[in-house]
Amino acid sequence: MQHLTARAKATAYTILILFSAFALVPILWAFGTSLKPENHILQYPPSWLPAEFTWNHYYNVLFRSNFPTYFLNSVMVTAISIVVSLFIASHAAYAASRFRFKGMNLLLFLILMTSMIPGIAVLIPLYLISVKVGIYDTFLVMILIYTAWRTPMLTWVLKGFFDAIPREIEEAAKVDGCSPWRAFYQLILPVSQPGLAASALLSAVYVWNDFLVAFSFTTKDDLRLLSVGLYNYITQYGINWGQLMAAVIISILPVVALFIGLQSKFVDGLSVGAVKG
């Protein structure tokens, strides 16, 4: 496999370069647009490189729109959803990994089974329920839904990590009079941090990127998340593409930076999640 002819190598590089271009061009085109003055954006044939640069679109998005509020809302909702679902899922996963009694498997199955329920299938009922309960149009309803939707996958992945930790650790602690609660918080959780981080990362990207829940469960402008803010640009008459693309670039910056910095964690988390979730 490793003895490639020069021609095979050239073909391989050509294909890789073509697909790298396919992957990057839409993003680069958006970035170019975000830096062009209005008259260069609305120009045909389009030009790839901006003839003049301007930071105006970024200025307008950051200082003359509600976009910073949406950004902070997204940060907050993502962070809370991830912390809460990790908390809930790690407890369930620990119980499933360490305790055996009649009915335990059924309980675990119930939690995991819900990952087969697609979000779109429960969106309408959730809307009706949230109105009835009085939590429609709040951060709470979004956080509850995101947390619940991430819990089954996280529980399954974390159970895998806990299963791999030798039981002797807790048995030794138990002899010393340590309760299951303390064993979990002081012994197991700290060792599982790499596992927690990889799965937290994927879940964070999921929540950060979601549109449907944020769009369907909020109407107030100051509760909006990023994705809904982006969508609103194209519902206006006469789309301001320069500003929209500046907003797009700002919204993908955090995930792209995380991805480039922690690529191996993403790849690990993805394979684990897809094979086990």
């Binding site: 958006a30 407890h91 305790f99 009694f101 779109i120 429960v122 009922p125 995930v255 394979s271």
Partner: protein, 290 residues
């Protein structure tokens, strides 16, 4: 392992309780609500009368309902047909000991972290009828300037390409991980027997990564089948209902037209389909574990 008894059993239940409560509230109970509503005729959020399976009959026999199913099938199959060969090819290339392969890998799988909303916006701008670079390239090739989103084939093709762009990294990463587990001795043994290049790919590589490819096909089929955001933001289901899939219809019936009963019926159909595919998926994983 010994059975857990007494006080420890209560500790275990306490650990499980929050997760159970949450999924019961947010996933299990709503499914029953959806099934219930799908059996009624509704006006906004009021049940008017019980109609049994009429909503489902309407869904399977109406021209629109059938078109939604056909659209879903076209969307899922075309995307899979493009994504799988592309990801396998790229995974094989990225598994070679080439220079810059980490850089290529980073660039090629980057679209995976981009949201469906942003994917739709990026591609909407790429094919914009007035200023899009793809519109310009197509004009150079075909001689006429076209608005891709105004025709059914154009809209479907654009949507599928955008979807492929956003989702092929998932299949690529899975296949690449599978390739990395194949010991190089196998290829060396193959070479002794005269298998190299294509021959070694079809006789050694492909059989070993087939289970992973199946897992990727099912995971992605489910994702495509349930997809709403990309289609809603990109084409809105148009032109007319040329790109309106079952899942998009479920969403629009509920949130655009306030037709709770019909929307619920669509949701129930989606749910059943998901269960069926998931069961196949579980069987596959079991088969692989044995």
């Amino acid at each position: 392992m010994e059975l857990t008894r007494g006080k420890e059993k209560w500790v275990a239940l306490a650990f499980m309780a929050p997760a159970l409560l949450l999924v019961a509230m947010v996933s299990i109970y709503p499914i029953f609500v959806a099934v219930n509503w799908s059996l009624y005729e509704t006006s906004y959020v009021q049940a008017v009368r019980y109609v049994g399976l009429d909503n489902f009959v309407a869904l399977f026999t109406s021209e629109n309902g059938v078109r939604n199913m056909v659209n879903s099938a076209v969307y899922v199959f075309s995307s899979i047909l493009l994504v799988i060969p592309v990801s396998v090819l790229l995974a094989v290339l990225l598994n070679l000991k080439l220079r810059f392969r980490m850089l290529f890998r980073t660039m090629i799988i980057l679209p995976w972290v981009i949201s469906q909303t942003v994917t739709a916006l990026l591609w909407k701008w790429m094919i914009n009828a007035n200023y899009g670079p793809i519109t310009y390239m197509l004009e150079q090739i075909a001689g006429i300037k076209t608005d891709l989103l105004s025709t059914s084939p154009g809209a479907n093709l654009s949507l599928i390409i955008a979807n492929v762009w956003n989702t092929f990294p998932l299949a690529l990463v899975l296949v690449l991980a599978a390739l990395q587990t194949i010991p190089s001795e196998l290829y060396e043994a193959g070479r002794v027997d005269g298998a190299s290049g294509w021959k070694s790919f079809f006789h050694i590589t492909l059989p070993l990564i087939r289970p992973t490819i199946m897992v990727a096909i099912i995971t992605l089929s489910l994702e495509y089948f349930n997809m709403v955001t990309l289609i809603y933001v990109f084409t809105g289901g148009g032109p007319f209902s040329a790109t309106e899939t079952l899942s998009l219809r479920a969403f629009k019936e509920g949130f655009d037209y306030w037709n709770v009963a019909l929307g619920s019926a669509f949701s129930v159909i989606l749910f059943i389909f998901n269960i069926l595919l998931s069961l196949i998926y579980i069987r596959l994983l079991r088969g692989r574990a044995h």
